[in-house]
Amino acid sequence: MKPVDFDYVKPTTLAAAVDLLAQGNGSVKAVAGAQSLGPMLNLRLVQPELLVDVTAIPELLGTREEAERIVIGAGVTHARLEDGDTSERTQAVLAQIASGIAYRAVRNRGTIGGSLAHADPAADWLVCTTALGAELLLVGTAGQRTVSAAEFVVGGFETMLAPDELIVEVRVPRLSAGSRWGYYKLCRKRGEFADASAAVLVDDARGFYRCVIGATSGRPIVLDDSRPLSELAGAAAVAEALSPTALAGDAFAIQVHAAAVRRAVRAATA
């Protein structure tokens, strides 16, 4: 369980980082908190020639408040979000999500950008940023683009990131004061990845409703928002939503995902 021999650099500008990524032809990997990449290196599931540490790039490290949204640098750790200013509604929700990820030692190093780029179907940020309607700013050698969290993830452990691209920012629309958030994940033990999860946002003031199922075998599933939440929470609707995934027909998976949706809806509507 030792990684292959690789080089390591820690650039201090975004341009230098994407240049290095572009040169590698796939044998260069970005690294942030190494909480997902580290085990993969040790298991030799990833055998890079070069690691580009992105945690010294200023654009990735800050959090700022804008009128319509909260902008989080991709290199911000779960722990910093957990410790954020909870008097502000959006940040309070982010803090609540962050506090449920793994345990503090992992949160101290793991980052929101790393979590999204890794795209483990069971990851908290994946399902939550999708439910919050967040956007990601991606920067590569060819320039920058903005994509929604929902479309960013293509499948299990698969995203639309090009080899030379980095996630730079995660932009979360500000929640209105009266918005309701519900998030439930089923973990066999605390700090473990979820067996099922669901996130629900009801933001009447902005006319935004979303219910997302996570911890499937693929990308988070956004349920049809034209249907009432009570209907989405039914086992039949969940079974239908899971039918295109590898979990189709899995009685246990359908049952616990349906329970997760029910509980997230309950939390968001109670």
């Binding site: 369980m1 030792k2 990684p3 292959v4 021999d5 085990p39 298991l43 030799r44 089923l186 066999r188 033990k189 605390r190 700090g191 473990e192 990845f193 067996d195 099922a196 009685a251 246990f252 049952q255 616990v256 329970a259 997760a260 029910r262």
Partner: protein
């Protein structure tokens, strides 16, 4: 205040808790190189060839290198009639028999480089059908793991006669199929070793994370053909063993030979993945049980077939059959009933060899038997504890020889149950169940009672005929010239706090302060022979030897004191480290100084053995001590998602006289935590190709501190009539009952919905499946 019974802090914790211990991984020798093992990627295959790139050829070794040099396979036969012998070459010879089996070893300056080389070693296999499930492997026609055998059964044992006609009229007949899962042992510190040749001592020195250095030494001697005096095995600080460090390991043989061959120190540290794959080696049993009872729930007979998945090879020294054979003798548990028949099968499969894990076989039979008791209770419409009470061996029958000839030494089993029922407040749980929970969860309560044979000696082990039979346990005790005490014992303390508890025993006899008593253990060069630390034996056996040695030292001290104090021997007393006669007194330190530095003052007839003694000890009966306990738990089951929360956990235990209650409690806490793992989390499943499915800690779930509740312990203290101070072995007890208790509690919670779970671990998926089945077929 510091002797037997005192709740003193552990001496060793100062170094261990500050990270100042010395474990194998802390040992670095000049010129030391690192090993990596190439492990079989397939479960069952003939090895056709190796493809090793030329540039690394000299850093790779296979059986083709070891065998011509005279290395012999590991062989652990049992003398039980019918036992089939397996031979395990420490690197696979012509055939691999489980995924993870070492097939080659690589040497390099660093582990990473050794792994680089390992990844270039390619073996070509001719794959054979694997034996993955023990029942299929035991069936006629299954492909043989060892081709010269006639089937895949290491050993079949039979206890008792069939008794159908005696119970034909029994009003209650319960049949159950019960499975317990394959587990890894997962000590905090994995296996590890450093091997080197000590040129001055002309000895092979093996530092290894082991529970039994003397046995490893014997095994190495057999495999390497070296005389014992040319081998020294040292267990430094060891971070937990639980059985995984109670055997001779192939890696030890390979590293020892290779260090002699290469002439340089070598190190191998097992990593977590190696552990989870190559050491998925414990607890996998299958039971088919039928129990008969009368209308009150009194047991009339138990009829069982039990299979143990023993894996591919017989391990040294315990062999492949110890676990199943023990099942036959301990399945009746703490109960008294008239009819019993049990057949057991140690089945050879294409999985890692089974290793006796803490509470070996005991945790499994408790799980099986205690489910049966609950099922009988349900059938006769009584509380499960009432049925237990009806069947437990009562105190007035102690000592008691049970149906398989186990000699229960002492205790009040029913009282532990009554106290558990009161302590868990059964009545209030029943009320709570009637009211229902505000959050909709289902609450349940469960009990399990067991008795645990520990510290079994010659009388038990000679019958197994395995490469190790414990005899007299020896301890050497030496008073130093300044009045300190050195104890040397061949056991090994790897978390049990023996540096403290043995000092307490010595203090009890000699009165020397604890801080002046030192235990040297785990080093074959410095300690008397011992089979090591296993089977809850060290406190009873080596602790007894400490007391014996110290008493004999006390006698010698008194004789010298009588002379120096000019008193009659019978008037000299020893207490508090002081020898007294009337007004005159002298300290142990003064006597020691006299022996070592002023021998001219000694009496003419002084014992020339001086202040140093090696004493051997065996209890009056070495059939083993029997600790016992009742565990009780209250759980809340979330029937929507299958999660279980442990609301309360109570242990009412009796392990005889406690040398140090804090250490006793520590053993129980740790054991219960492991038992919770067995009950709810841990499992090493295999796919149809014999591939282990849990190869990282993401898949192999262990309970963390958030999953282990505050455990309440109540002590009872019935001394054993046979041992020093009346102590009993207790190191394994905590782990025996939790899976039974939690399963029973979960079933009590699910009862309202007509659902029953019977297999471990009780996962959310199993709970929800049981609920779905119950809905599909409503109970009669």
């Amino acid at each position: 205040m510091f002797g037997v019974g005192a709740r003193v802090r552990r001496k060793e914790d100062d170094r261990l808790l500050r990270g100042r211990g010395r474990f194998v991984a802390d040992i670095a020798l000049v010129g030391m190189r690192e090993l990596a093992f190439v492990r079989s990627p397939v479960a069952h295959a003939r090895i056709l060839s190796f493809d090793i790139p030329e540039q690394v050829r000299r850093q790779v070794f296979t059986w083709q290198d070891l065998e011509p040099a005279g290395v012999r396979p590991i062989r652990a036969a049992s003398g039980l009639p019918g036992f089939k012998v397996s031979e395990q070459p420490p690197l696979a010879a012509d055939k691999v028999r489980f995924a993870g089996e070492p097939i080659a070893v690589t040497v390099a300056a660093t582990r990473a480089e050794a792994e680089d080389i390992a990844s270039q070693v390619i073996a070509e296999f001719d794959e054979l059908p694997p034996n993955v499930d023990m029942l299929a492997a035991a069936a006629p026609g299954a492909p043989c793991v060892h081709e010269h055998w006639s089937d895949n059964i290491f050993l079949e044992t039979r206890v008792g006669q069939s008794f159908e006609k005696d119970v034909a009229a029994a009003p209650v007949r319960i049949s159950r199929s019960i499975r317990t899962q394959r587990q890894c042992i997962v000590p905090l510190e994995g296996k590890g070793l450093v091997a080197h040749w000590d040129r001055q001592a002309e000895q092979l020195v093996l530092y290894t994370a082991t529970q039994m250095p003397h046995i490893v030494r014997s095994g190495l001697s057999e495999c390497l053909g070296l005389p014992l005096e040319a081998i020294r095995v040292i267990a430094p600080d060891v971070g937990g063993g639980f059985g995984w460090k109670g055997l001779l390991q192939p890696e030890e043989v390979v590293a020892a030979w290779l260090c002699l061959h290469l002439g340089c120190p070598l190190r191998w540290m097992e990593d977590r993945r190696e552990h989870l794959v190559a050491a998925a080696n414990a607890r996998e049993h299958h039971y088919e049980i039928t129990a008969y009872a009368d209308a009150d729930g009194r047991l009339l007979g138990v009829d069982a077939d039990a299979w143990v998945d023993a894996g591919a090879y017989s391990i040294y020294p315990f062999s492949a059959c110890l676990e199943a054979a023990q099942v036959g003798s301990i399945l009746p548990g703490p109960y008294d009933f008239p009819h019993y028949r049990c057949r057991t099968f140690s089945v050879c499969t294409n999985k890692p060899p089974i290793v006796p894990f803490r509470g070996v076989a005991r945790a499994n039979v408790c799980f099986a038997m205690e489910q049966i008791i609950d099922a009988i209770a349900a059938a006769v419409g009584r509380e499960a504890w009432e049925v237990r009470l009806l069947n437990l061996v009562p105190p007035e029958k102690m000592p008691f020889d049970n149906i398989t000839g186990k000699h229960f030494d002492s205790g009040d089993y029913p009282e532990s149950l009554r106290r558990a029922v009161a302590g868990i407040d059964l009545a209030s749980v029943r009320r709570r169940q009637l009211q229902g929970e505000p959050d909709g969860r289902l609450v349940g309560v469960g009990f399990a009672t067991y008795c645990e044979q520990g510290a079994h000696g010659t009388a038990v082990y000679h019958g197994w005929g395995i490469p190790m039979v414990p005899g007299y346990e020896q301890v050497q005790a030496r008073i130093t010239a300044d009045g300190g005490l050195e104890l040397r014992a061949g056991i090994q303390s790897h978390g049990q706090g023996m540096e403290t508890s043995f000092a307490q025993v010595a203090h009890e006899v000699l009165g020397i302060p604890l801080e002046r008593i030192r235990l040297v253990h785990g080093d074959t060069g410095l300690t008397p022979y011992s089979t090591g630390t296993w089977g809850s034996r060290s406190m009873v056996m080596a602790g007894g030897a400490v007391a014996t040695a110290c008493r004999r030292l006390a006698d010698r001290l008194r004789r010298i004191a009588a002379h120096l104090l000019q008193a009659r021997l019978e008037d000299v007393t020893l207490s508090g480290g002081m020898l007294q006669s009337g007004q005159a007194d002298i300290t142990i330190a003064e006597i020691a100084r006299t022996w070592y530095l002023a021998p001219q003052l000694l009496p003419a007839d002084v014992d020339p053995g001086g202040l140093e003694i090696t004493a051997g000890y065996k209890p009056k009966s070495d059939h083993g001590t029997f600790s016992y306990a009742t565990h009780a738990a209250v759980v809340a089951v979330d029937a929507e998602v299958g999660l279980v929360e442990i609301l309360d956990y109570l242990v009412v235990e009796d392990a005889g006289t406690m040398v140090n209650p804090a250490i006793v409690e520590g053993q129980i806490f740790g054991g219960v935590a492991q038992g919770i793992g067995t009950a709810l989390y841990e499992c090493s499943p295999y796919d149809d190709a014999g591939q282990p499915m849990a190869s990282t800690l993401m898949d192999y779930l262990l309970p963390g501190f958030t999953e282990v509740p505050a455990i309440r312990i109540e002590h009872m203290e019935t001394p054993s009539p046979y041992t020093e101070f009346g102590v009993k072995g207790l190191g394994e007890g905590g782990v025996i009952a939790p899976s039974a208790v939690l399963c029973n509690a979960i079933n009590d919670a699910l009862k309202a919905r007509g659902a029953v779970v019977t297999d471990q671990p009780v996962t959310p998926a199993r709970i929800l499946a049981a609920l779905r089945n119950a809905r599909a077929e409503p109970p009669p």
